[in-house]
Symmetry: C2
Subunit: 430 residues, 2 copies
């Protein structure tokens, strides 16, 4: 993308409404704009990041054996009356009346709808298990939306649901999803820790939250250093993996157990702060019973399938990752989800040799590069590249261009390399 | 995907609610289920088709020079008061009140919102042109939703918007989008014809609709045979292309001009029926003036950018394509958007040799294949493969398997080929 032709409206000033780093940086880097309280438009760079995260989530859901569907945003109130949650949900549910005075709502989650879909289309135990998921916008009418996309009203969530024959199947689904989540976060390039959680409004017997470590996180977290190294994920068997994940110590301050904590060697104790970006639930037959979803078993007897649900806040992750990865100058994107691998900074726009080398780099990298082809001074180009957080900056001035040399800067470390064109390209491509 | 583990609930009976072929076939093939009047859930095969169409649309928008953003589904009523359309829009607009009694709505289109975004972030003529687009769910509260996804209430649309310096720029945007649309439909594998149209609610001076030819179409259409051959799209220059598109005769019955029609050689006259799947508009400064979006020009004077908007109904296209491509037995997908390239039909599930060959084919094709591994009789497998419309069927029985032979059936033509495994795979891969 050529910056001169892009809708990437960076800001020098920090907008007054933004209280936290990710919100400030997303506005300043031109990733999002607020359209109404807690409702955002995603501009090109923001949307690229959102999509890259969604794609990694999708690939790991598919790999786990889940299958993608897409449920609508608008739901019928009657569905929620079946589960008894219509009245229970309260003011966070955005309730809507259509032209025929039918009661609708903007879905805040989809347990009811997916249960109805599977119930109405599955008759036999032979059709189980079913693990559908979708990636769709949700709405929760927060009383006080804030912190940008970390607590927006319209937000993008991946929600998966598992329908299994029995308890053992449901446990396997739960553990498989935990593994899928940890792989997802690892591929994104951030450290996430699963922690035992309350089941809250969803209900059920077992739940884990996934917290990203970030100094500005909302919860205090206590954890074993094993989570930092990634060793914890080495298990190849899903049960061994789950065993390991749930025995290594990790807890939010609400659930912190000092007696257990004291048994951990001091050099492995870590305290930090976390941002919740996902949660998984096992809730047995709560919804299948409430919505009368019974299936005929091998013995001819009806039974209620065992269920779980599994959410990742995709739009929330964008903010959470920035909380975990930024400095004074701006965002530091992990390579896997950066909007562009590199920015090409032309320090002498209009100089034939410099322009020619920049065009050559841009042609070679294509959609992986943002080409800063504006007639702006070098200082501004450096500052905006740091702000936007591209993993690499390819700096091209007239002297280097004449010698066929590109200066590379690695955003995360500040390292610099002076390299011939092909070597520079190879390094950026990884 | 293994059919035994999939959420593809095919139906033998035709649902009573479905009046037209595409609606019947989408329900029977298990692509969609209605969740509320005019509101559908997309099951795995339906969602794959929807995504493949969206991806072709996206690639051609990018190629045309447009840039992807994502605007939210929920909009503020105040935005629509600025353009004067809030009251004008009538009951098709789904109006919503949030917990703080603020007036919101579910966006039926985005002229107002995108104008506000560009207005608030662009100050100079140097930042023009801007051609943003997004692919997002919209809602129109139709009084009588019907025909499945052809006239749903919640529907997926690609809408692009152009903001240009002057009339010439706007005309270039309009023509470039027409070319992008024709390339999009050609890649999908259907014949579409641009026809001069009224501007309706959007307003403006110039508009074309794009109609897909289908015997069950809503409008009668009269057109020159040049549109059938694809010759009309050979122009490489966008202006020459536009000239050709708008001089070859094509008109809906509403706009049909028998005087011109009579001048066309009889052997080139075609009459058929069409389904509208897209529309483009040039409307000048209608919205930039109403919403006071003025930019400083090279001469220091303020001016209002020239605008256009460009829609493709992506969910509607799924239904329209089926109207154009089906027979008594079911859907006939064009290769480019089929949910799977091939179905592998195992005619003797449980026979070791047959199973082994099917698994080999499935491993080779991966996500491109739907493997019918159910213990059902051959007749049912054939019928459901025809219904679902996979471009190829790979039929494997015990005799063929023992000889290493696969029977291929081409859905569109009924042609059959008996081929060794590698040749069969090569044919399916195209």
């Amino acid at each position: 993308m050529r910056l001169s032709r892009s809708l990437i409206p960076t800001l020098k000033e920090t907008p007054a409404e933004a209280q936290i780093a990710s919100h400030r940086l997303m506005l300043r880097a031109g990733m999002i704009r607020q359209m109404a309280s807690g409702i955002y438009a995603w501009l090109p760079t923001g949307y690229k990041v959102l999509n890259k995260i969604a794609q990694i989530v999708r690939e790991e859901q598919d790999r786990a054996g889940a299958q993608e569907v897409l449920m609508p945003t608008i739901q019928s109130a009657d569905l929620w009356r079946e589960s008894g949650r219509y009245d229970a949900y309260g003011k966070e549910m955005l309730r809507i009346t259509d032209r025929h005075d039918r009661e609708l709502l903007y879905g805040p989650t989809n347990e009811e709808m997916i249960t109805a879909i599977v119930r109405d289309n599955i008759k036999s135990y032979r059709d189980l298990p079913q693990w559908p998921y979708h990636i769709q916008w949700k709405f929760r009418d927060e009383v006080r939306p804030r912190f940008g996309v970390l607590r927006g009203r319209e937000f993008l969530m991946k929600d998966a649901y598992s329908f299994d024959l029995d308890y053992e199947g449901a446990v396997r689904a739960y553990r498989t999803m935990m593994l899928a989540y940890m792989r997802t976060f690892q591929r994104i390039g951030i450290t996430a820790i699963p922690m035992r959680a309350d089941t809250g409004q969803i209900g059920g017997d077992l739940s884990h939250e996934f917290h990203i470590l970030a100094p500005t996180g909302e919860s205090g977290v206590f954890y074993d250093a094993a989570f930092e190294t990634g060793d914890a994920m080495d298990a190849t068997d899903v049960d061994a993996f789950y065993e390991r994940m749930t025995t290594i110590y990790a807890a939010t301050d609400e659930k912190h157990d000092t007696a257990v904590w004291d048994t951990i060697p001091a050099e492995r104790r870590r305290e930090g702060r976390g941002i919740e970006v996902g949660q998984i639930f096992y809730f047995g037959t709560k919804y299948s019973q409430a919505m009368d979803f019974a299936v005929t078993g091998p013995d001819g007897q009806k039974f209620y399938p065992e269920m779980g649900s599994y959410g990742i806040g995709i739009s929330r992750l964008v903010g959470a990752i920035i909380e975990a990865r930024h400095d004074e100058a701006g965002i530091i994107w992990p390579d896997a989800i950066a909007p562009f691998k590199a920015a090409i900074l032309n320090l002498r726009q209009g100089d034939a040799t410099t322009d020619a080398l920049c065009e050559k780099l841009y042609a070679a990298l294509g959609a992986d590069a943002l080409y800063d082809d504006r007639e702006e001074r070098a200082g501004q180009k450096f500052a905006e590249a740091d702000l936007m957080g591209h993993p690499w900056q390819m700096i091209v001035g007239p002297r280097g261009a004449a010698a066929g040399i590109v200066e590379l800067k690695r955003r995360a470390t500040g390292e610099r390399f002076e390299l011939p064109v092909e070597e520079a390209l190879a390094k950026v491509r990884g």
